[in-house]
């Protein structure tokens, strides 16, 4: 019988709680703002004996992910957390973890990348890792960060997937703000994620294998990459299935994309993460003023749900994509590129405008969202769309 406990706490502390309930064999981590309190809290659980995890303190994130790779290859259930420069420092091991098909789960507290130095939220860190072969879930709220972390583990360890997964939450906004969160009881979470059955565990000495081998000189590197592509494509159905199973135990919804007020929407904003809250609020105000506004939140960025996004936006007359990350030199931000691509196969052409917003924690005020919906209303009634991308609220 599922027991739900309602608490008032921060996103980071519930991610640590989710990790404890998932009972990882190994956590190797290095502190970095705004992630630090995740691993700090988890280390406390280890010290208190509330979880029996080998907690490895390392001297950098490069070593943290290296230790995670080694432990996961050995056959352990492995989790960790990082942010920003830490994720950047892990970059080579991110590829190694996915290439070796190691289902490591990592929370990432989204924070801007240097330079100039900044500790606040944007998605530049995670988006820089979007092609590293990890499954990537993004949370709007602390509740979703807790839920996504548990879902991510079950997806990663699924025999159809066996890929690492990232559970992203917005730095400070979600990691440090106190929110109302419903926690599941330990047995429910432990039962939900089940027991990890590693394949090719180094510690399985009766079935000895070599990890980290060479596949060059005309060898099958190409085929291994194709296998990774097939696995992440398969993972989409697994994310959906695990999300549905999670809904059954928790009563909370999970969608690859989550829509609100989209049934009859003329104008819509596509967004990732905590800003979805502001967008939803403004969409309701726009509706009160007679504009049929809707919102589409992308909760799963890898694998990207192109078909679901296109289906959600199909009836719109103008769409805005909010990107909290740059893709310098590209036509727009990462979410914009995916969204435009997703809409290409539709019969009718929908104008899509890209807004870059909130970089380095730049404030996302409600009037900025109002401005986006106002632009969309103008486009929907025949005005020309702004040419090129818009730096929303930049001086």
């Amino acid at each position: 019988m599922t027991e739900i406990r309602t608490v008032a706490t921060t996103g980071n502390l519930v991610v640590a709680e989710a990790m404890r309930q998932c009972r990882p064999d190994v956590v190797a981590a290095y502190p970095i703002t705004p992630q630090t309190t995740i691993v700090e809290e988890f280390a406390k659980y280890v010290a208190q004996g509330r979880v029996h995890t080998e907690y490895v303190t390392v001297e950098s994130e490069h070593s943290a992910m290296s230790a995670c790779v080694g432990a996961s290859a050995a056959g352990a259930r492995v989790m960790t957390a990082t942010a920003s420069q830490g994720l950047a420092l892990m970059w080579e091991e991110l590829h190694i973890a996915s290439g070796m098909r190691l289902p490591i789960v990592m929370a990432n507290a989204n924070r801007a990348l240097s330079a100039p130095i900044n500790i606040h939220c944007d998605h530049g860190d995670a988006m820089g890792a979007r092609d590293t072969g990890w499954v990537m879930l993004f949370a709007e709220t602390a509740q979703e960060a807790y839920d996504n972390t548990i879902i991510a583990l079950k997806v990663a360890e699924d025999p159809e997937v066996l890929l690492p997964a990232m559970s992203c939450l917005d730095g400070f906004i979600t990691t440090h703000s106190i929110d109302r969160i419903e926690l599941l009881d330990d047995d429910t979470v432990t039962g939900f994620v089940g027991t990890y059955q590693p394949q090719n565990a180094l510690l399985d000495i009766d079935n000895a294998v070599s990890h980290g081998c060479f596949a060059g000189l005309g060898g099958p590197y190409f085929e291994f990459k194709k296998a990774q592509r097939m696995a992440i494509d398969r993972s989409k159905a697994v994310v959906e299935r695990v999300g549905n199973e999670f809904t059954k135990v928790s009563g909370r919804d999970f969608g690859l994309v989550e829509t609100d007020m989209m049934d009859d929407a003329d104008v819509a904003i596509v967004v990732i993460g905590s800003t979805a809250g502001n967008v939803r609020h403004v969409a309701k105000e726009m509706r009160a003023g007679g504009v049929k506004a809707g919102i589409v939140k992308v909760r799963c960025f890898r694998p990207f749900p192109h078909a679901e996004l296109a289906a959600a936006l199909k009836g719109c007359r103008a769409v805005a994509v909010l990107d909290r990350a740059e893709s310098f030199g590209a036509e727009g931000g990462p979410l914009y590129l995916e969204t435009r691509s997703a809409l290409y196969d539709l019969e009718s052409r929908i104008p899509v405008v890209n807004y870059i917003y909130g970089l380095g924690g730049s404030d996302v005020r409600l009037e900025l969202i109002h401005r986006v919906y106002a632009d969309l209303s103008d486009i929907a009634s025949g005005s020309a769309a702004p040419s090129g991308l818009v730096y929303l609220g930049a001086r």
Partner: protein, 108 residues
Amino acid sequence: MKWDISDIDSWKTDDFPLGAVIPEAGNSHYYRTGGWRSERPVRNVETCTDCLICWIDCPDTAIHVADEKIAADWLDLDHCKGCGICANECPVEAITMVPEGCELPEVR
């Protein structure tokens, strides 16, 4: 158990092991590196003290030991790639690297 890769060139993506593991321990033995050799180590049995430093340091485990001494057929020419580490590390300079001829019958 030997991992049979005889028809690896006709394998499809699904036939390769998950995550590029090699599902058989120690099968690098089947990969002969002797053909890389341009110099061959020659050991002077008179000056060799059987300290086994060369055996420890050889990166290809190409030096054989029997009864805690360097074995009579000491060198595995299928795998010695002529790096010269053994000659460099021998404390009594009992190993000399000599140019390899063009014939390497042991390399198939």
